[in-house]
């Protein structure tokens, strides 16, 4: 990373960035009457619009944290606030240092916080940016009908669409066929074991980073969150409009947000000074707003974009810097790991990661209610406490079994249960969980045992696994045969009488 840092942070890159920024400032200034700009800024109503804008932007970053957490699910466990802090560190560093150094800083701190390989963290960051690009383009497609885009802007948007879509398709292909990528990579044994393993490590890390795309539910959730993130950012652009007496038009805000964010992809100075103002002003001016007001609007939005996140990021960096120092001092005292017994096997280690431990999903209220309706609790004499304990055990087992289903069937099941919940809500005017137990049982039987094959198939997995776990529960079995429950792991062996002894 130090190598990358010195290269990217070289004086040439800084000078080029500053020159690009200056170029955009000059471009914007050609159309401005500075006295008009000052007048517009002076007349701006900051309260309550600027705090609202900042709030919307901050919520967007919290959602980014949730998205990062979801992307890493199964690979690393992150608290939502920590995830948001990591994201914000990247933004803050981009605001302070040139050449998008924030992306590297964000990857480094993600790696440090989670123990993931740096290559995987970097791939995750890259993937987030691609998802951001796609979400922005999707929102842009919505606004382009309101504010028609022509000329160089149209060309730029078409180019961006090709780039982001191409990158995304390549990532999707690598995600759904990881073995092909591994096989191709592992064919590079001619490079020698050291380089071969390094390349494999890199590919595996990248492959792990995009693994979530193989799970449609998770992939769709991440994309939906990306749209939410950028809607929040559009909220910032929207909230500043009334500060200058401009109409509160979401289409204008969306157009300004998408065009500005596509524009700041151009390498420039820290904080995107210049490109941010130029593209934001151009978008608003295209809606018929005078240039001076449009530029003032861009200045205020940039301030809302720059200051709070930079301060938040510096605070997070300071905190993690202290924690890292503590970790380093502990690490210095740590002992080396003993060689493993399995080193006797002819294995070549390629990489080692610590994924998050699998989470045993507690059953949801809806699943618990469905399981309760599936099991004939009233037919077995159980007291309240025993009944509740059996229900918890059965519902937990059923949810575990459903989670074990192949992903494609799991998705269908989720869709089916959502349909069930919706139809029951619409026909009974209240949720399934709020219905009386007898009604729930009746509805369940109609779906699970009724004439419609599709609903029977949907509930077959719940019905079967629930009945299996219910009747094989030691408490229920004992109640059925009238004996004390048998402790788990103590198989009762039966010696069968001989035919002779039976007849006697």
């Amino acid at each position: 990373m130090s190598g990358q840092k010195s290269k990217l942070g070289s004086p040439v890159a800084i000078v080029v960035g500053v020159l690009v920024s200056a170029g955009f400032v000059v471009l914007a200034a050609r159309w401005l009457d500075w006295s008009g700009v000052w007048a517009a800024l002076g007349a701006a109503r900051l309260w309550p619009w600027v705090p609202l804008a900042v709030g919307s932007y901050v919520v967007g970053h919290l959602v980014r944290g949730v998205r990062l957490r979801l992307i890493l699910r199964g690979q690393a466990e992150l608290q939502p606030v920590t995830a948001a802090n990591i994201v914000v560190v990247g933004y803050a560093v981009n605001n302070i240092l040139p050449a998008r150094m924030g992306e590297l800083a964000r990857s480094a701190i993600l790696s440090e916080r989670t123990g993931l390989p740096f290559a995987q963290s970097l791939t995750t960051t890259l993937l987030e940016r691609i998802l951001d690009g796609l979400a922005i383009l999707a929102l842009f497609a919505l606004t382009s009908r309101v504010l028609p885009v022509t000329g160089w802007l149209h060309t730029s948007v078409v180019a961006a669409t090709w780039i982001f879509s191409g990158a995304f398709l390549a990532i999707i292909a690598a995600a759904i066929a990881p073995h092909l990528v591994w096989r191709l990579t592992s064919g590079t044994t001619w490079m020698g074991p050291k380089l071969h393993h390094a390349v494999l490590r890199l590919v595996l890390a990248a492959s792990n980073a995009i693994a979530f795309l193989r799970r449609p539910r998770q992939g769709l959730s991440v994309f939906a969150l990306s749209l939410v993130v950028w809607c929040c950012e559009a909220g910032m652009f929207l909230a500043v409009l009334p500060a200058f007496g401009l109409p509160l038009k979401p289409a204008w805000a969306l157009a300004a947000m998408t065009i500005t964010n596509l524009g700041i992809l151009v390498p420039s100075s820290p904080g995107f000074i210049g490109p941010f103002h130029y593209f934001c002003m151009s978008a608003i001016a295209a809606a018929g707003v005078p240039n001076d007001t449009a530029f003032s609007y861009a200045v205020l939005v940039h301030a809302a974009f720059y200051l709070p996140v930079t301060l938040w990021g510096i605070g997070a960096l300071a905190r993690y810097g202290v924690e890292m120092g503590t970790l380093l001092s502990i690490a210095r005292r740590a002992e080396k790991l003993k060689p493993e017994e399995t080193d006797a096997h002819p294995l070549h280690s390629v990489s080692r990661v610590r994924p998050a431990p699998p989470v045993e999903r507690p059953p949801s209220k809806l699943m618990t209610a469905i399981v309760e309706a599936a099991c004939p609790f009233d037919s077995v004499p159980l007291d309240e406490a025993a009944r509740a304990a059996v229900l918890t055990r059965v519902a937990t087992f059923v949810c575990g079994q459903i989670d074990a289903l192949p992903e494609s069937i799991g998705v269908l099941f989720t869709v089916g249960v959502t349909g069930f919940r919706t139809i029951v809500g619409a026909t009974h005017l209240r949720g399934f969980c709020k219905l009386a137990p007898a009604s729930r049982r009746r509805i369940f039987e109609a779906w699970a045992y009724g004439r419609i094959g599709l609903t029977r198939k949907l509930f077959r997995v719940v019905r079967s696994t629930a009945l299996l776990a219910f009747y094989d529960d030691p408490v229920v079995t004992a109640a059925l045969v009238g004996q004390a429950p048998r402790a788990e792991g103590t198989a009762e062996l039966v010696r069968w009488p001989t035919r002779a002894s039976k007849s006697s």
Partner: protein, 486 residues
């Protein structure tokens, strides 16, 4: 260590993998066995059905076979593979089946005489014998029914010499009487110098031209870290079972006649209620199989717990609980057909799992219908009051006439709730290059050092429990490898 490689890498420790490892290690080959599942001590066997599913079964027992008629399929995922959870029933491959394999697949060196020494060896290794005690009640009733109908029935030998009737075969035998591979061949293979690497899932075979140079595998450590390791090998035996072997090969780019011709034994279960208590939940498995209609059709007794009975009844009726009051008077039985449909196995692009499909043929449905008729007639003749088939909407069968109807009427495929525990033929062996994935001894066509040696190579449905066939062919192929490998 940098250039270390193993001479023979065996992937999978089930009936095929354990046999291969043992025979090669005993003859001085440098063998390493890798197994995806865990090694469980005998004390951890015999837990409840829910705990056993979580520990010993692939996907916790939730592996559906997709198709117009979905079929429930289970297989083991632990050291010893499916031999840890099967019933230990033992059959030699029927002569008719061996002849058909010769005719249809040009399978060489697989006559009854040529296979006999391999069966004898396997039977000695796992201690195949007949039950020494009296028949459990559910078996005695089946025998009584078969005698009343005048049908040939037999007590099936089992690889469970000292069975103590704990009724826990499917949960891992807690007494060790049924020696799954983890208690029989694998310890002997380890003693002979074939180490076993557990918790290691092979993700892809590494190829160079017509050779496999090794594998990439994911290894789960005790500290919950996952390590990607490369294992270099001179020869690779894939023995991961009928679904995982083709899935691994296909995701490694080996696809010719791989995963295209899956066969299974579709099975329809019934519950029967008798006038007196049978107590099948604490009995050993029903040991009687009716072979009058074999190999197309077999009738036998099923593994029984109250939970399994409730599942079975729920396929037939919504009112399970009133019947469960009679649970001690009930036992479960099955009709299994040889399976004339064809299925496929693919590696899932969504979750690294395996996608299995099977198209139930018309002939399968006819055979299941007739099988249900015969099984119901047999059970009624044995004294059953009612027979509940796992068929949606079909009323309980109470009379001979109700049962005999299905000799000539065909059940509707969409109402059937089918299961299976037997799958094979997903990479058939034989000399017919137009339909076989390997030669007659499991060597994959087009590869110099890649072999398959498990149920996937059985050319077609054997029509009987397959553990005997898998072990005998695995030994035959291992010995052929020793004679011919350079």
């Amino acid at each position: 260590m940098a250039n270390a490689r193993v001479e023979v890498l065996v992937i999978g420790s089930g009936a095929g993998g354990a046999t291969t490892a043992l025979e090669l290690a005993r003859r001085g080959r440098d063998v390493l066995v890798v197994e995806e599942g865990r090694r469980w001590p005998v004390e951890d066997y015999g837990q409840s059905s829910t705990a056993a599913m979580q520990r010993l079964y692939r996907r916790r027992g939730m592996t559906p076979i997709l198709g117009k008629v979905p079929i429930g399929y289970v297989e083991g995922c632990a050291v010893g593979g499916s031999t840890e959870i099967n019933s230990g029933f033992w059959h030699r491959t029927p002569p008719e089946t061996l002849l058909r394999w010769r005719t249809q697949y040009d399978l060489q060196a697989a006559s009854v005489e040529e296979m006999a020494p391999h069966f004898q060896w396997a039977e000695g290794e796992v201690g195949v014998s007949r039950s020494s005690g009296p028949l459990p009640e559910s078996s005695a009733l089946m025998l009584k029914g078969a005698e009343a109908m005048g049908w040939a029935a037999q007590e099936v030998p089992r690889a469970a010499r000292n069975c103590r009737s704990s009724n826990l075969c499917a949960h891992g035998c807690p007494t060790g009487a049924k020696p799954g591979m983890s208690r029989s061949l694998l310890p002997r293979a380890e003693e002979a110098g074939a180490p076993l690497l557990t918790n290691t899932r092979v993700k892809v075979l590494l190829r160079r031209g017509g050779r496999v140079t090794g594998v990439l595998a994911e290894r789960r450590h005790d500290d919950d870290t996952v390590e990607l390791v490369r294992i270099d090998a001179d020869h690779v035996f894939v023995c991961a079972g009928p679904t995982e072997t083709p899935a691994l090969l296909r995701r490694s780019g080996v696809r010719r006649y791989i995963g295209e011709s899956l066969r299974i034994h579709p099975m329809l279960k019934v519950a029967a209620r008798f006038p007196r208590e049978v107590d099948a939940h604490v009995s050993s498995l029903p040991l009687i199989q009716v072979k009058q209609f074999a190999p197309e059709l077999s009738l036998g007794g099923g593994f029984f717990t109250f939970g399994h009975l409730a599942m079975l009844l729920s396929e037939n009726t919504a009112q399970v609980s009133p019947h469960m009051a009679d649970a001690r008077r009930m036992a479960s039985y099955y009709v299994a057909v040889r399976g004339n449909g064809v299925g496929s196995v693919r590696s899932s692009i969504l979750d690294e799992g395996t996608v299995i499909r099977y198209r139930l043929s018309d002939e399968d449905v006819w055979n299941l219908s007739r099988g249900l008729a015969r099984l119901a007639m047999l059970l009624l003749a044995a004294g059953a009051e009612e027979v509940y088939p796992a068929v949606h909407g079909l009323p309980p069968i109470r009379t001979d006439v109700d049962a005999a109807r299905w000799l000539d009427d065909r059940l509707s495929g969409s109402t059937l709730s089918l299961t299976t525990v037997h799958a094979f033929s997903s990479a058939p062996m034989g000399e017919r290059r137009d339909r076989c994935a390997t030669d007659s001894f499991g060597k994959v066509n087009g590869f110099a050092n890649l072999y398959l040696n498990d149920a996937s190579t059985l050319p077609d449905s054997p029509g009987v429990n397959p553990q005997g066939s898998v072990m005998a062919f695995a030994r035959r192929n291992a010995l052929h490898f020793l004679e011919n490998a350079q």
